[in-house]
């Protein structure tokens, strides 16, 4: 049995029985990474020496004792590089631990490795990384999705038992769908953002990438909770997210938002997702059609609010205190302009400019303020829907992984990759993507993701529904050949 292919649960059983050790698991992982990551390109760096020390000292009785977890390069791990895949932070070392890292460590896990991503989490293909290309493990000529492309690719390629990513408009769910793993975006505020480099503060949320739904629940058990360091984290009591796993779907009502089954979806994706819905029916769930009438405005609202917040959040990268500083400077203005011009990539600049524009005097009311009002309408759409159903069911992405380079010249088309995921972030509720089949595309077999959306703080129920599907289908067991 190759240790690196195991889920967290399976690995944990072997660790606790003494069949294997955290050190052996780490070495198995490292050798898998050494053999396949040159092709996949998911990792930016690894601190193997520290991980080996932590593995040697690990307490396997802890909830995640001795299990390495790979981290998106936007979450601070003290002593590790943290670059957000941007040139402006090349050489930057985190000086403190994010709350999620403290929680992982307290649960015995070993934060190991930094994962590639779109620069500052802006993108849907990981092509906006200024540092490295990441490929989809199912077809190395295709993108892994984004922005947490590295997080999805390494889990799908068995180069990580699990990883952390961040989801601002779909950045966990979309790459999970495109790489064929499980990606969970918790309710806004369920997981602390302290130590997550902010892209859009009111939308960002950290979540896990795993091989199974059960692993996702186990990781959320560790990550969730109120954090005094994050004022926007929710007071809600912590709960055991595995407690409903294994229950059947009798009495569960799933809603198909009609706005999410539209023309333009790849026909294979549409067919695969509809087959999954029929499977849910067979499992005893009731399927009803629902409407989220303001869906059509979600992308526009998102690109106003997210860019507005980003324009302020990214102002701190100025070359004064840390990060890239241009040379031969004439004055402070020159320092700002040249450091930022050299340090940021095209997409980041585009969004900073857009965000600056929508907040400008004279435009604020027409853009930002109006977007906030429509955001409220979108939230109300979901509230109304969740009065009728337990969860919503739809595709995660309208398409499967596309070819590297196909979209990079067309930002607008790229923005549409997130049309089914963005509204969740605007509403603040939770969502999960899990494998539901494959599409054949130009000789490649590419994963299709099924998205389940839950009401605020209804992660346990969402995981129950996802688990019922997963345990009666084979898709999550499929692995790419590398």
């Amino acid at each position: 049995m190759d240790l690196h292919t195991l889920s967290i649960s399976a690995l944990q059983t072997r660790l606790r029985s003494g069949e294997t050790t955290p050190s052996a698991a780490l070495e198995a992982l490292e050798s898998r990474i050494a053999s396949v990551d040159p092709k996949v390109g998911g990792y930016l760096s690894r601190n193997l020496l520290r991980a080996r020390q932590e593995a040697a000292a690990a307490d396997v009785s802890l909830p995640l004792g001795g299990i390495p977890i790979a981290i998106k390069d936007v979450i601070n791990v003290q002593g590790d590089p943290c670059t957000a895949a941007s040139k402006i932070l090349q050489g930057y070392t985190a000086s403190y631990n994010a709350t999620v890292i403290q929680k992982l460590r307290a649960a015995g896990a070993i934060p190991f490795g930094r994962l590639n991503m779109d620069e500052f989490a802006m993108g849907s293909s990981t092509e906006n990384s200024a540092l490295q290309r990441t490929s989809n493990p199912w077809d190395l000529t295709r993108i892994p999705g984004g922005s947490s492309g590295g997080s999805a690719a390494v889990v799908a390629a068995d180069e990580a038992f699990a990883s952390l990513g961040s989801d601002t408009g779909g950045s966990i769910r979309q790459p999970a769908a495109l790489c064929g793993c499980v990606g969970l975006k918790p309710t806004y505020g369920r997981v602390s953002r302290f130590g997550l480099m902010a892209f859009a503060s009111s939308l960002d949320q950290i979540g896990p990438f795993t091989k199974t739904v059960e692993d996702s629940a186990r990781l959320l058990n560790v990550l969730a909770g109120k954090d005094p360091m994050d004022s926007t984290s929710l007071e809600a009591p912590t709960e055991d997210y595995t407690r409903l796993l294994g229950r059947d779907l009798k009495g569960i009502k799933l809603g198909m938002p009609k706005e999410y089954f539209i023309e333009g979806i790849d026909p294979q994706v549409d067919a695969t997702v509809r087959a999954a819905i029929r499977h849910f029916e067979a499992l005893g769930a009731e399927i009803v059609e629902v409407s989220l009438p303001h869906t059509q405005y979600a992308v526009a609202v998102y690109y106003i609010i997210a860019t507005a917040e980003a324009s302020a959040n990214l102002a701190r990268y100025d070359g004064v205190r840390y990060g890239h500083r241009a040379e031969d400077l004439r004055n402070i203005q020159d320092l700002y302009i040249r450091s930022r011009s050299e340090g940021f990539g095209e997409e980041v600049k585009r969004r900073i400019i857009l965000g600056t524009y929508v907040l400008s005097s004279g435009y604020y009311d027409a853009y930002y303020l109006r977007a906030q009002k429509v955001r409220t309408l979108i939230r109300q759409d979901f509230e109304a829907a969740f009065k009728k159903v337990d969860a919503l069911i739809c595709p995660t992405s309208p398409e499967v992984a596309f070819k590297i380079g196909d979209r990079s010249g067309d930002p607008l088309k790229m923005y549409l990759a997130d049309i089914f995921t963005i509204a969740t972030n605007l509403a603040g509720n939770c969502g999960i993507s899990l494998p539901c089949g494959f599409a054949q595309m130009e000789g490649s077999r590419l994963p299709v993701g099924l998205q389940l959306l839950g009401d605020s703080l209804q992660e346990a129920k969402l995981l129950q529904i996802a688990h019922a599907y997963e345990s009666s289908t084979p898709w999550h067991k499929e692995r790419p050949v590398l």
């Binding site: 601070n76 953002r193 360091m229 994050d230 926007t232 205190r321 604020y364």
Partner: protein, 485 residues
């Protein structure tokens, strides 16, 4: 006849709150610490760090609002004010834009708040300068410019800062002075700030314009900065008003600009011209939730202290001291507390007030100390007064004993005992000394009997000397008069 010009002044005062920790992180607030020793990822604006509200700062701002009679918002929210400057770690400042904690209210000006030389000619006695608003924001770091570089000390970054904005309601530099000293007094009273301008705990920007008398439209507004004392504000405004009038009287015109006050040169000079309003792109701070002030207002109301004006009035009423004495005592909360504590131990509050305002204050000022550092406690001063009152020692001895008390911190009775200063009231002993003095000074006796009654004072002095100051002077006078009679 030359046109008279009327100045219009509005002040923006920034006040550092006296909280233990910064506004959004746990770093201590301490003036004069080693540069960059009180910093963390939050106040340095490191990637991923988030602000957490210091509720004490909110309460202190609400308390200030209560003391200044403002309306306190039930819900207040914070906004990001965007601009790039090296002393601004995030390149946005967390501030309040459209929903400040406090609105309206005012600062009452009292006579002693005016500069000493202007107290005789106060134009609007009892004036209350109206406020626009008070909001809370974070302070920026402190930049120090060297020859070829600039150093930034982030210890100050994130200190809670109140911005108190007045209406353009001030008519003269003297009134601006009175506004600032009255405001400072109230802030210190409430314990919300030490409000020391020289330490940058209170900073003031002035907006000033002049207009010809008889017109209503305000003149071009000019902002002046960089005043480090309240009297500096007065001087800067006086200079600037003079300058503006001179430009206008010569037919010139003024541009909207910001000028820097140079206290050494005693003049303002152009800093920058305001081309257009800076676009700060304010938007609601997504990292902080709006705060419901109602949850703590009841407690804040209980913290509201008696204000200087209220104290003045009460002192006059309950202790029968003069308005002036009450005002001087009430000007300093610690001094007023000292007076009240001492008043409990004496039946003569007026005499007590005199002692405090004359002897105590001048001794303190000679020693360069404040009332807090005074070695004589209020109870000790009261005890001194009561042994003078009972005739145990005389007033002159009292002053000497007081001087010793200030030096040593000992009780008056101990000093009286140690020095054997008990006033001699034994009539026989005093009479013997009086006789001795008469016998020894026949010339003075002759003069007295010849009608020069003042000569008795010389004899009295001799008796006091013989008694080593212990004789009761009143009794000495009586006995001498009888013996010489």
């Amino acid at each position: 006849m030359a046109t008279r010009y009327i100045p219009t002044i509005g002040l923006e005062v920034h006040v550092q709150l006296k909280t233990r920790s910064k506004m959004f992180c746990g770093c201590p607030v301490e003036y004069g610490a080693e540069p960059n020793s009180h910093t963390c990822p939050v106040c340095l604006g490191y990637p991923g760090a988030l602000p957490v509200m210091n509720e004490t700062a909110l309460r202190m701002t609400a308390l200030t609002g209560l003391m200044l009679n403002c309306k306190i918002a039930e819900v207040c929210k914070f906004d990001r004010k965007n601009y790039f400057y090296p002393d601004m770690p995030k390149n946005y400042q967390i501030s309040q834009y459209d929903r400040p904690i406090c609105e309206e209210g005012g600062v009452p000006l009292h006579d002693l708040a005016y500069p000493k030389d202007a107290q005789k000619a106060i134009q609007h006695p009892g004036k209350i300068v109206k406020l626009v608003r008070i909001h809370l924001e974070e302070d920026v770091a402190k930049s120090t410019h060297f020859e070829t570089s600039t150093g930034i000390d982030f210890n100050r970054a994130g200190t809670p800062l109140m911005e108190i904005v007045s209406e353009p309601d001030i008519d003269s530099p003297e009134e601006a002075f009175a506004y600032l000293s009255a405001l400072q007094q109230i802030l210190v009273y409430g314990g919300v700030s030490d409000a020391d301008m020289e330490k940058g705990q209170m900073r003031c920007d002035c907006n000033v314009s002049v207009r010809p008398e008889g017109t209503t439209e305000l003149g071009t507004k000019i902002e002046i900065k960089n005043m480090n004392t309240i009297s500096g504000v007065r001087r800067a405004l006086a200079f600037e008003i003079e300058r503006q009038i001179e430009v206008l009287s010569k037919g010139g015109s003024l541009a909207q600009e910001t000028r820097r006050w140079d206290d050494g040169l005693g003049q303002t000079s152009l800093m920058r011209i305001k081309e257009s309003a800076h676009d700060y792109r304010y938007f609601p701070e997504p990292d902080l939730l709006p705060v419901d002030t109602r949850v703590f207002m009841e407690e804040v109301r209980k913290q509201r202290p008696e204000l200087p004006a209220e104290k003045r009035e009460r002192f006059v009423q309950s202790y029968g001291i003069t308005d002036y004495d009450a005002a001087v005592l009430a000007a300093d909360r610690a001094l007023a507390d000292y007076f009240e504590l001492a008043a409990r131990g004496t039946s003569k509050p007026k005499a007590l007030a005199n002692w405090i305002l004359n002897d105590l204050l001048s001794a303190l000022s000679d020693a360069g100390e404040t009332i807090r550092e005074c070695r004589v406690t209020a109870a000790q001063l009261a005890a001194l007064l009561s042994i003078i009152d009972s005739g145990t020692i005389n007033a002159g001895q009292g002053k000497a004993v007081f001087a010793d008390m200030l030096r040593t911190g000992k009780d008056a009775t101990v000093i009286v005992e140690e020095k054997g200063l008990k006033q001699e009231s034994d009539l026989g002993a005093i009479e013997a000394l009086c006789q001795k003095s008469i016998d020894a000074n026949p010339k003075a006796v002759e003069e007295y009997r010849g009608g020069k009654t003042a000569s008795i004072n010389f004899l009295k002095g001799q008796v006091m000397k013989l008694s080593q100051g212990k004789a009761n002077p009143a009794i000495v006078g009586e006995i001498l008069a009888r013996l010489l009679g």
